[in-house]
């Protein structure tokens, strides 16, 4: 170390880190710990200060039917969006990476949803799903299907959100696959061609295994997003009908800023933090086994 005057390294290092550290402490570590602490207290008002209630909030949560419904929704939402968007992303990347006519245009089309705000595209999708006059019903109408209130029906509303989310995210994940594909040595494919291996065989036995670290990375991002992305709910459904499309983070928002129950919101946030912690730990365990990543 060129500035090595024993202690100086430590002082300079910490001084450089200090500004970022202050921000991280104030807006990430402190609120994480405070959330945990507040989940053990009752919600205070001007007349009734908040008091320690132990696990009371958690007991309420376990008895809260809406919480279970939201948890179930989030599970199905994750299961519906993740595999499809990751598979589509891979397909898109392979297509765009190959010799495709109008490749630039196709790549742009796939990527465009990524640069558009969720809130803005939700406005457009809202029209697609509008009963009778919406685009979905108009297209289905051509085949003689009757109109349907897609977002008003508890059975179809979550599916509608899943379709839109897949549309929004696939192009973003495609980028990671595209970057990985372009870093693969081209000799591999040429060698496989000389050996007479078919494209599908080559993909299955060479490309896909080599993309495994990328798949893992994309999967983790997809899981996080399925818990973090709720913007579209504000426009499309507001969690309805009867919480059929409500997701955990949106429920936290409702509890905190519509029902003003901060203690319960903190308790729900702890659940969300726990989910994220499990993902983080899982990531470390899996990555440890796959040393060839980085």
């Amino acid at each position: 170390m060129s500035f090595a005057r024993s202690n100086q390294v430590h002082i300079y290092g910490w001084l450089l880190l200090m500004p970022a550290a202050i921000f991280l402490i104030a807006f990430t570590y402190y609120p994480t710990v405070a959330t945990l602490a507040h989940s053990f207290f009752s919600d205070g008002t001007a007349l009734r200060p908040s008091v320690f209630v132990g696990l009371e909030n958690y007991k309420l949560m376990l008895e809260d039917e809406v919480f279970w419904k939201v948890a179930r929704n989030n599970f199905w939402f994750a299961l519906g969006t993740i595999p499809v968007s990751v598979a589509l992303a891979l397909l898109m990347a392979v297509w765009v990476n190959g010799r495709l006519p109008a490749r630039g245009l196709v790549r742009m089309a796939y990527f465009t949803p990524t640069v558009l705000p969720m809130i803005a595209v939700a406005n457009i999708w809202l029209f697609f799903y509008t009963p009778d006059i919406g685009l979905v019903d108009q297209v289905l109408g051509m085949f003689g299907a009757p109109g349907h209130n897609w977002l008003g029906d508890p059975d179809t509303v979550l599916g509608c959100l899943i379709v839109m989310t897949v549309w929004k995210e696939s192009g973003f994940f495609m980028i990671f696959y595209l970057a990985a594909l372009q870093s693969l040595p081209p000799e591999l494919e040429e060698a496989a061609k000389l050996e007479g291996a078919g494209r599908w065989y080559f993909f299955r036995r060479v490309t896909f295994p080599l993309l495994m670290p990328t798949t893992l990375f994309v999967l983790i991002n997809a899981v996080i997003n399925s818990f973090k992305l709720v913007d579209h709910l504000f426009i499309l459904t507001k969690g309805g009908p009867d919480n059929a499309s409500n997701l955990l983070l949106y429920y936290i928002y409702e509890v905190a800023f519509s029902f003003f129950d901060e203690a319960y919101a903190a308790t729900l946030t702890v659940v969300l933090l726990a989910v994220l912690a499990v993902i983080a730990i899982g990531q470390f365990v899996i990555l440890d086994k796959r040393i060839h990543y980085r």
Binding site: S2, Y12, L17, A102, G104, L105, A109, P117, W125
Partner: protein
């Protein structure tokens, strides 16, 4: 050797392309091309529809006729019904203040992690990476409380504060700084540069592509961000475009489709135009940021 192999490979593939694929394979290839195009069309459909509805009179919002008259009326209407100019200004201030703060904070921290073996470095780095998982969106309840204490509720600064120290930015810059040869730094030291001068004269200029990449990712993210800005703002003077658009387009507001889509296009226009103009740069930046 490598180059030679590649040339052989290219010669082979050129020869194959020249000779034409076998009929069966060519059928599947054509089907794939068709599939790729069809998917691209589906992916663009919402945007195409938005353009259709915004540039035609409301009567044609749900009727698709090739020679429907074009109009800019919807844009004029949307512009007059909501303070878009103010929203633009707010979003611009928000995005640029976050980016400026991120550049400074992340550069300093990344330099420390890349080149200083200070006490507790690895633990500190692991702690920084925690923010990749626990993003500010998750902590809206507590952060709102903090902003109340700081008196930054309903300010543009309040929207930006939780995002200014970005683990992603620190990580990205650290990776880049680590690739800078130490000899360059030593040469600068001999010339008499202080350690901050080394940073600004050697490291920062060499990391320019990373700054561009990170900048584009950050700007797109914060231009589009919604949940936290919604929570922390409650006046026209602070609301960014996304929040303004959500209020404007809410079904309760009774505005019709054509005007909502016009408003939507107004909100996304700057970023969309930038993306279409610098498409390569955008895609490359997201890739650059994704590889690290």
């Amino acid at each position: 050797m490598r180059g030679g192999l590649r040339m052989v490979g290219e010669a082979v593939s050129v020869a194959r392309a020249g000779a034409g694929w076998m009929p069966r394979e060519s059928f599947w290839l054509r089907l794939e091309v068709l599939g790729a195009w069809l998917l691209a069309l589906v992916w663009l459909a919402p945007l195409i529809y938005a353009f259709w509805a915004a540039f035609h009179p409301p009567a044609y919002a749900i009727r698709f006729e090739l020679f429907a008259p074009l109009t800019l009326e919807n844009f004029a209407e949307a512009w007059s019904q909501a303070p878009f100019a103010r929203y633009y200004l707010n979003t611009f201030l928000l995005v640029s203040s976050i980016l400026a703060a991120q550049f400074v904070l992340c550069t300093l921290a990344a330099y420390a992690f890349a080149r200083f073996e200070f006490f507790g470095r690895d633990v500190a780095f692991a702690l920084v990476l925690v923010q990749l998982m626990i993003m500010p969106e998750v902590l809206i309840v507590e952060n709102y409380r903090t902003m109340t204490l700081l008196g930054t509720v309903d300010t543009i600064l309040g929207i930006g504060l939780p995002y200014m120290a970005s683990a992603f930015g620190i990580f990205l810059l650290r990776q880049t700084f680590k690739t800078v040869p130490k000899e360059l730094e030593e040469a600068a030291r001999i010339e008499g540069c202080s350690f901050l001068q080394v940073l600004t004269k050697v490291y920062v200029p060499l990391a320019k592509p990373t700054y561009v990449a990170y900048g584009l990712v950050s700007v797109s993210y914060h231009w589009n961000n919604f949940l936290w800005p919604l929570v922390i703002t409650n006046s026209v003077e602070t609301r960014p475009l996304t929040v303004g658009l959500a209020i404007f387009g809410a079904p309760e507001s009774g505005v019709d489709w054509s005007i909502i889509t016009a408003g939507t296009l107004l909100a996304v226009a700057p970023l969309l135009i930038a993306f279409l103009l610098f498409q390569r740069q955008f895609v490359q930046s997201f890739m650059h940021a994704g590889i690290k």
